[in-house]
Amino acid sequence: MPITIEIPTAFRRFTDGSPKVDCSATTIAEALNELTSRFPDLGRHVRDDQGQIRQFLNVYLNEEDIRFLGGENCTLKDGDRVLLVPSIAGGSGS
């Protein structure tokens, strides 16, 4: 089984409307790279100028935040689901 990346509605305009994208990556980093090379316009919304995953984008492997799994180098196995969820901050500060 492939790895499935679930795409939130707001991102689907970059994925030709697809709610799910399959890939064959072995790490989260590879999965994101595969996704953004297939859909280049999505690239700047996934990573910032320093190449880090954007601060207000949360990435989950199945039900777990990848930051608890060692970050984007954590390994994937067949059938895993990768979720991209924009962070819901209320906005505050200056």
Binding site: H45, I88, A89, G90, G93, S94
Partner: protein, 422 residues
Amino acid sequence: MAVHYRLRCKECGKTWDNSPRSFCEDCFSPVEVSYDYDALKKTVRREDLASREFNMWRYSELLPLSEDFAPTGAVGGTPLVASRKLASRWGLQELYFKNDAVCFPSLSFKDRVVATALAAARRFGFETVGCSSTGNLANAVAAQAAQQGFDACVFIPADLEPAKVLNTAVYGARIVRINGNYDQVNRLCSQIADRFHWGLVNVNLRPYYSEGSKTHGYEIAEQLGWRLPDNVVVPMAGGSLIGKIAKAFRELVTLGWVEAKPVKFFGAQATGCSPISDGVKRNLQRFEPQKPNTIARSLAIGNPADGPYAIKLIRESGGWAEDVSDPEIVAAIKLLAESEGIFTETAGGVTTGVTQKLIAQNRIKAHETTVVCITGNGLKTTDAIAAEYPATEAIAPRLDAFEAYLETQIGTTAPATVSAKA
């Protein structure tokens, strides 16, 4: 009342019409409500408030409400309690507790945010409202949804305090218990908001919801006689409230309602869930998420969405963040109750305990005006302190039985020396 606000992306600055959205569709960063202050200056003056009732709606022009909005009930307008005992004990000249433990209708500051969120829900045509919640928010959504005729569906971690679950259930809300912590519940709610046409107050209505927090700040300034304090100690869960109090103070300065002055913002967390205070102390560019393990369930958010903004604000204001252990939280709840007659939930124990720490660290000084935010009621988290008060043995309804009791408890029955003091 003409509408003088719209949504604005906090990162790229793009503006968006008023709508149920929580992030910028261009850059996917958070949006917040932004106001035309020049227009507001012409719309409302500070003097206009004098004739209005003391609740959050007295600041209506400064909130994101529609032109035809009519309040359905009084929310906010809580006491600013001038401390005598703790001020004296801690050596402070001016110490206040802003007491949202008695905020109506559901006894926490979350009533304020739900009030503005449901105003937005009605405007955008939602029939069902909901939230992800650590308890207080679910109480507030359920109560105000019942009052205003919305269907309510709330999502909570399965192991929440029984009193908080009951305080939601009683209003007839649908409660969905999730096997997971708050951060997992919150992530699920983001997905639900993406799928269903529901007004989730802290997801797709979040820009409007979080503006309600400003009224906590407006009230502090007004109750101090239209002046700003030197220090504010604020509990942090998602990290939104502290920024909204800062926004409230900035707005009052912009409108010319208070004199500008530097205010230090101090953030308070439980040590068992302290990603923001950890980020402040270690000067991290990005906080590290944590798995919460604390009795302060209402602050148990390990991945605080507004954490980056809270860290920036605290550091730029010259404030600091601290955290307290579970035993320190319990001790602080007791201290506040015994000293000031305020029974707060665990979050208030956190701010009180952290204040004590900040004074000991000389970050809060004797001559300054300090306000400590109490955001919830102790009746909701009695489990956290029940072990402190084991049941005592009952006595017979006779005077000799009471005298025998006094003899064993304080070693005398002489009326002149008998005191109730423990």
